[in-house]
Symmetry: D2
Subunit: 334 residues, 4 copies
Amino acid sequence: MGTGVGIGVIGAGVMGADHARLAAGHVRGGHLAAVADADQARARFVAEKYGAALAADAHALIADPEVDAVLVASPDATHAEYVTACLQAGKPVLCEKPMAPTAEAALQLVEAEAAAGRHLIRVGFMRRFDPAYQQMRDALAAGTLGAALLFHCAHRNASSASGFTAVNSVTGAAVHELDIVRWLFDTEVAAVTALQSLAKPGGMQRDPLMLIVETAGGVLVDIEVFVNCVYGYDIRAELVCTEGTMDLKRPAPSEIRHAGQQARAFPPDWRGRFEDAYRLQLNAWVANLGRKDAPGASAWDGYVASAVSAAGVRSLASGEREEVLLAPKPDFYA
Amino acid sequence: MGTGVGIGVIGAGVMGADHARLAAGHVRGGHLAAVADADQARARFVAEKYGAALAADAHALIADPEVDAVLVASPDATHAEYVTACLQAGKPVLCEKPMAPTAEAALQLVEAEAAAGRHLIRVGFMRRFDPAYQQMRDALAAGTLGAALLFHCAHRNASSASGFTAVNSVTGAAVHELDIVRWLFDTEVAAVTALQSLAKPGGMQRDPLMLIVETAGGVLVDIEVFVNCVYGYDIRAELVCTEGTMDLKRPAPSEIRHAGQQARAFPPDWRGRFEDAYRLQLNAWVANLGRKDAPGASAWDGYVASAVSAAGVRSLASGEREEVLLAPKPDFYA
Amino acid sequence: MGTGVGIGVIGAGVMGADHARLAAGHVRGGHLAAVADADQARARFVAEKYGAALAADAHALIADPEVDAVLVASPDATHAEYVTACLQAGKPVLCEKPMAPTAEAALQLVEAEAAAGRHLIRVGFMRRFDPAYQQMRDALAAGTLGAALLFHCAHRNASSASGFTAVNSVTGAAVHELDIVRWLFDTEVAAVTALQSLAKPGGMQRDPLMLIVETAGGVLVDIEVFVNCVYGYDIRAELVCTEGTMDLKRPAPSEIRHAGQQARAFPPDWRGRFEDAYRLQLNAWVANLGRKDAPGASAWDGYVASAVSAAGVRSLASGEREEVLLAPKPDFYA
Amino acid sequence: MGTGVGIGVIGAGVMGADHARLAAGHVRGGHLAAVADADQARARFVAEKYGAALAADAHALIADPEVDAVLVASPDATHAEYVTACLQAGKPVLCEKPMAPTAEAALQLVEAEAAAGRHLIRVGFMRRFDPAYQQMRDALAAGTLGAALLFHCAHRNASSASGFTAVNSVTGAAVHELDIVRWLFDTEVAAVTALQSLAKPGGMQRDPLMLIVETAGGVLVDIEVFVNCVYGYDIRAELVCTEGTMDLKRPAPSEIRHAGQQARAFPPDWRGRFEDAYRLQLNAWVANLGRKDAPGASAWDGYVASAVSAAGVRSLASGEREEVLLAPKPDFYA
């Protein structure tokens, strides 16, 4: 029982459990209605912890009349299926990236949404809600630093999961920067070139990667993706404009002076860095369900992110600059 | 209409409106039920904005059966009256500091609560929930920096309201640090000496102040209170321990390089600095209504903060070191 | 009159005057003996200021028996001529970069030095003496951060001289980073690709540039060169290793909190950033005259820097990746 | 053999050896002429290292005709004797602080210098030459931050020598800040109150100290002196003015990201922090020998520093605020 929008969360792993926590207590006008997971024990644990219903499975959750909107945080391979089911049920869905396993599959979702004629799909590119990136976008809009020229990015994880490959570095990690580039500069990505360090003495060989990203608007972007940087979770970015630059600064509430060093700690993973972004994303979603002009990433944005990532993946294979191939943008998203 | 704890907010000024915003959308297990303010138009504006009921006045709000818990953010002079009314109504109340205009009046509330036998009062010393102060307390508990020796603090506001005096600097500004000292070191304040710069060319003369605070546990504390520092809202603190020190770092999501400088902006007031603390305080309050061991400041803590402030105010007048005079602590708070 | 090595400085412009200042008072075992400049008035001013002889011209200075060693800081086009004259006179010479206008001309100096059989030429890549770069090199040697993988650099000047072109950005600005890469990683540069932002609304169009530098050892380097960044002189670099990274931090003795910002000032030009490096370079030069294993850049290093720059310049023209073409290294430098 | 001013260094310990190094190679218009030390082997080592003469003892060094100016860096107890000998020999002397063991003894040197009628004595308060303190003084002169109100200082050593007492903390450590206060604010110190943390679980008990310093001009100063802070050598200071503040920033050429932390190293002792200050002090001394208006601290400043320290020491004993007692300033220093 609750008020406002009943939110159903599919997926009760680390990511899903965190979404459930936020939906349960940190979203205005919404509440956590139900939880589903292929692992019923895991779903039950989260449902009970936050006082929500336990769904028999993802489809039952989508069908549940108490669920007004669906948040998909299950394994990547299942995203498209659940998003499709939400479209069929006519329920708004916020899907963790990637929306679909390929750009083609993502395009099918775009077409299905356009055919249905309702803006039901949002994709979880939460960085669009991060206060630091917001300040960059505000500075560009205000013109205080002049016009954007370059954008230097680094995306670092302490370690990657077993089986993680260079393809995953592009589609699962750098895709966040690729989306931010489109949002920050309000332009499309024209081409991607994947480069790599050849000096790695051991471990995952194509890590770190460097992606050189050319935008239609002319801003040149370089993205380091380093998913086994060992020292901590760290997202760096510097926006270079004609009259000044802006650096992201990560939250670090304190600094110690100890053992010969003045030091600030890194968070072990993304939760310590993007806590605010996830919360703000959830609130913006609930406050704008079904609106075409809702903040955050649309299905079209989800498709484009996949198409840009695909160019990066092709470049990994070819060793060459690869142009981004985009289907025509449906009028529905104009 | 809503679920969980119905929160009534008394006061719809800057502070009250911000509490209403948090109660409306950022508290798990609670919702904004009603708003009251001596200025009905202001109350109506906030109530409508967040979909809450408009109370005829503060006492009507306290009596409203939809209101399960009361948040007092009205002018200081009214706090004790509303807290008393909440005690009589048997409703939990979170009161902005100061709980009462004098230490004696605060003690009466303590005695009333103890007589009533229920832990209904909490006082809004929100810094106890600030992540940066929490890291200091965690470090002390973990012993990573050794034992605490000194604590250097600066409390700076860009400007003070008209009519603000050195007494207000102690009772309205430094009182936050005075409370944090007790909480951080789990000790009482023994004495306060107020010093001042004599170099001010104009403006409010006893600003900045320096308070030298001696604790029963031996930690020596200095607090600069500067309520017209001009440049921005800034809270600094360094905890000095036997093996290292820890500095508070304020949130600043980005840094620019522009016009010859590398710079981070200050927030204009406390909302940009303690946003998280207020939200966490509200959630902790709702999750622990009526519990003796709830986190945050109790009525007793509110009384002691007033008594310590009073020593500071006496020192302002006498120019001497003034000992803190405390009534015996009722068993109810043991 | 003076003790130790008599230093003659050719060039009394901004750079030469600063060298004269250092030679006159900040070098152990040496003193400023003479100054020459095509502009006699300028040379006289510097000579008198520091109590040195005024030479009739550069060649007279080189021939002066009081001059034991020559520092060339005259216009770039004259460097090779004066270096050649020093070789003929058998006098050690420290030449500002570039040693010669082309890689071919530089190679001729290398061959002339090798034929003469004495290590007389050093090139003024002063960053090799900068404490910050030294700490990077020390960390690599110590292995504390693991093995080097990537190196991100930015070279920014507030503004460039009239007539400065993208070719100058490579040969006059980025050449410092190109030399540091070789020195830091003890490897050769294999290829350079010049990229550029296409978003510049006005001004010098190929500014900023991005150089992608591939090293024989596998470390991948990106260098932003932005000679009209407006905001100040700023050199950034982050060394990315397998277990951690290291950032250069520029000297900034103080930080202010003023007008809503916490800020550190940039120096207007290189003197505020590399003061120590120039002084340490001069001392190391005087202490190691004629030694093959002297610290700093040799004639061979000066040639290679030119050859690497030439690849960058070719890439500017071709828009393609260009390999570095190097003559065989004479045994004399082995 | 050498040019310009022949410098004799008395004392070949850590401090004296460092002065010898600077005199040998980093001073314009001067050179290291001779070295003396009660420990002849130590003196010989330094003399040979820098190519200077070995003096039989301090008095022989002062008498040596090759020695034009004397730098005293011997044990504190010997300072007054050697300064007196320099006065008698008519030679300029730069004496490490303290100039004399007591304020009374310092006053005798002042009177002796005034009687001799030549400005021969300078005292080694090198912080007056530190670029960071210079920026503070410049900001005050320029008025960019408004008028000075408060000055917060911390003076921390990793560890103190055996036998070091709270008296030494005042006379040997805090004396640097006490001198800087006079120089920065161009005012005298009126009174000192010594406070202490009572929370130290073990070790040197009156460490850290807090000195509350009242100036005649009204600026209020607090100085933490912590000579066993364990973590490193650290000098902090924040100047608080009517419109802004300024913090000292220590030199730290690089920052690492490693093992979960973003960190900058502290130097183990003062040499890593005040290297520039010592060098600039030495150059300014040699360039202004015998001038009344030479930068740096005069004999009078050395006396006053002792007198202010003495007030601090009295306060340590009395536990009370102690006024500074100053002899009348001789016209010679007006």
